[in-house]
Symmetry: C2
Subunit: 513 residues, 2 copies
């Protein structure tokens, strides 16, 4: 009888930073009690890390006990082999004794030797042990790993093939099973990703060819494109094999995670398809897709560059302005750069020695006709926006600045402005977020400005509820503003209303005669 | 060489009622010009129908010409066999001559004889002809159809297998191909649905087994769970077979349809999985999922009833109240039923001979302690909400009314109120939307009321932009209010602010002493 392991909380944590509401978890555990699922993997156990990571990344003992209380299922936690040494095992797993049934190890097959030692310690504590071995599509490249496979059944109960890139096809599953079967008789498992929507068929193929345990998550929640959906596997097995499924229980927990999915948006899309089909790591893609302002276009270009091992398509001349300005005004993409346009235009026109830096081209139209030097920041897909704003570029006389070479997202520059485009040599005031609009604008201000740097149209976000993407953008800008202030010794001055905390505010109207 | 037919506009029209913005279509056509797609199916040609159906449902000649102008691809339109007789063909297809390359016929295999005659007329006009034959998983049940297959290559160029329910597996595809190959040598096609996320693997399997043309749509847009995604097919064929794909062009049109998808929400989900896995028609499921207020729970229950051929789980006693009231106040789920609670409670308490009907239980808490007869409308998943509101039902003394038997969505009644639950005999003032909260509440008011029917907390939707679901709910209520007014000869009176146009308004405060 095939066993099903649901790892929604563990793998879904990549989206929520391993925090979940009590209500969602309680509905999940109740539903699972009614469903033909054998194991629940609830999270990681980990040594302390420096960034904030949530409840299910550490699974402290009170949490383990609460889950044990609420669940009738066998419980699983996972260790990440690269973060755990055999000496850590006792401390990490002592609270799990009597509560957790299986400990899994996520591992790179190139560290298989180390993982065997880790497994030995875990096995000795009385746990079932599962190996979650990554990169199944590349295993033939690691002969030492294949050689050592014969030792695995001494220390482990299940050996999982993980389709890390989400790019394997049913035929590959069969071939990998045959490859492993030459070396060991351990029970096999399969963890399928869904980049190419092959999670179900790969898993059913694995089952048909003798795999004994398979992973799935509710709504497919999981890193990147996510996993085989538990509800899809159960529905298919109900219809095909008569597996009994309480669809009311199932739909309750699917409802809960579907709502969460509307904020986080896991699931496959064109960038994940391309990374899966070409076996490119999806960690970067996930950051690009979820956190940032890149269009599919930029991401696809970056993935194509990776695939062709091109670092970047262009090397541009470095931005070395011949002239310095007493005043620099950075225009952001916020509504206040338009709402207060008349005041801002009066102010800028009155300054004399001034230039404008457009962090985003979004509001550039409003300032187009001012006879003042203007600089445009080009990141990701911004070149396309510039084209939309300036159409034929007939009266365009600005310069464009791009991030330092090489540009991870590739480089798109409208043909008409290639002659006036430059790359920054470096971002000197911050060592992260170096390819954001705001980082570019601030660095350009350092290159161009002599005295005052103003910002306008950086509104921050004002709604009570904002999307993850907006939240992340606001946090990034806040970080850059405060780094810039530290670097220059004085805060930026916003001329328009703003919710950013690390900038000073001077109403543009207070500065007009 | 395999041919690809993209039918995004035709099949996507099921979501947008066959209207698309000019910008979306123009980006789509431009992108397609850059991509290895052979045919574009742009819509239907149809005789006039009585409901409103959009531009791409009729494809008038100016539209055909515009698309021809913008596209380098072979163009296709489709006829629905059940709506078209051979005598219509000339009129419907004359404007297509010289513009459209292929005419497809969507058909039920049980009407195969009729379709052959239709095809003959179409072929005679010089078009390529494709048969899109539905229900491939049931073809063995139709021997006359299988027998007549030998005539198909005289009148058609392509014969498509359509996975109508979205429930076939790769092995079924192979078996169906073999079944057809016994009868005819016509070129085969495959149109796959994605309920079980098997669109890609079924299509690749079909290609591997000699199918020569396959369908796909951008983002999978299409009726119900939708289709194989064009971007997924192209990405897979690019990585596997070296098919050249301009990913920038592809991502441009994917971006456009992805944005539309956020409003309409096509794609698979638990109800579509269940209907696919069990070969249940997805037309109803699509209505339930997109238009209405049913939870996955109610839909799954309805699908289970269909699967087990149960009409409904319960027959309840008919609602025949022994008492009539001079005044009935219907409380809706809008915020104004809470915002104006004090005024409403004063007004209701002062009326004396009165009862309350809760169209939704959402605001029931606010009126729970009033010592007045109260009736609760139970539709779909409302029983679960009632449980949440009243917990143990300790002090619950109300009655519940349900739609007339049989209830399409099945019946869920919390155990504690089964004794006090009744079904309406009929909805007498409307012949549609009979299982909505508002229809129930109004019919209950007819049964209970003698004189005045008030409503409160029917706010309508006030934001500038509302979701399709909200819009649809508002339209439904408006229809019911106006049907009710026609039936009774006087409009309903709203006591709280409302945006509904077919009700009269009297401020609750104007009616207080």
């Amino acid at each position: 009888m095939i066993k099903i392991l649901d790892c929604t909380l563990r793998d879904g944590g990549y989206y929520t930073n391993w925090d979940f509401s009590k209500e969602l978890v309680s509905t999940y555990l109740e539903s699972m009690n009614m469903l033909p699922v054998d194991y629940l993997e609830i999270g990681y156990r980990n040594n302390p890390m420096k960034d904030y990571l949530g409840e299910y990344f550490y699974c402290p003992s009170y949490l383990l006990e609460q889950v044990k209380e609420a669940s009738d299922k066998k419980l699983v936690i996972i260790l990440d082999e690269k973060n755990v040494l055999p000496v850590h095992v006792d401390n990490l797993l002592k609270p799990c004794v009597g509560i957790i049934d299986m400990v899994r190890i996520a591992l790179d097959p190139q560290q298989f030797g180390r993982a065997l030692k880790l497994a030995e310690r875990i096995k000795a504590m009385g746990f079932e042990v599962g190996f979650n071995t990554m990169y199944m599509s590349r295993w033939r490249e690691f002969p030492a790993f294949l050689e050592d496979l014969r030792f695995v059944d001494q220390v482990a109960d299940y050996f999982y093939m993980v389709d890390s890139f989400g790019g394997v096809y049913p035929q590959d599953v069969i071939e990998t099973i045959n490859l492993i079967r030459e070396k060991t008789n351990i029970k096999l498992g399969f963890h399928g990703h869904n980049n190419l929507e092959l999670g179900l068929i790969n898993t059913l193929t694995a089952i048909e060819h003798g795999v004994e345990i398979v992973d799935a998550t509710i709504t497919g929640m999981g890193r990147g494109a996510g996993n085989l959906k538990t509800e899809l596997l159960l529905t298919a097995m109900n219809a095909k094999d008569g597996l009994e499924v309480d669809f009311n229980a199932l739909s309750k927990t699917v409802d809960g995670f579907s709502q969460l999915q509307q904020s986080y948006g896991w699931g496959t899309n064109l960038p994940y398809m391309v990374s899966g089909a070409n076996s490119l790591p999806q960690k970067n893609v996930m950051e690009w897709v979820t956190q940032r302002f890149y269009s599919f276009n930029s991401i696809i270009r970056a993935l194509n560059n990776q695939k062709q091992k091109v670092k970047d398509n262009y090397k541009l001349p470095v931005f070395k302005p011949s002239k310095k300005y007493d005043n620099v005004v950075i225009i952001g993409g916020g509504a206040n750069a338009v709402n207060h346009a008349q005041g801002l235009r009066e102010f800028i026109a009155g300054l004399g020695n001034v230039c404008i830096i457009h962090a985003s081209s979004k509001n550039a139209n409003t300032y187009e006709d001012l006879e003042i030097d203007q600089v445009f920041c080009l990141v990701g897909n911004e070149g396309h926006r510039l084209e939309k704003v300036f159409h034929s570029f007939k009266n365009f006389s600005g310069s464009c600045v791009l991030p330092p070479y090489p540009r991870e997202m590739g480089t798109y520059i409208p043909e008409a402005v290639v002659e006036n485009s430059f790359e920054l040599e470096r971002i000197e005031f911050s060592n992260r977020l170096n390819d954001t609009h705001t980082a570019l604008a601030l660095q350009a201000a350092l290159e161009l400005g002599d005295e005052n740097v103003f910002i306008a149209g950086y509104d921050g976000y004002i709604q009570a509820s904002i999307s993850q993407k907006e939240k992340s953008l606001t946090d990034e800008n806040e970080f850059l503003f405060s780094s810039f202030a530290q670097h220059t010794g004085k805060p930026l001055v916003s001329l328009t209303p703003t919710n950013y905390k690390s900038v000073a505010v001077k109403s543009v109207y207070s500065l007009l005669a």
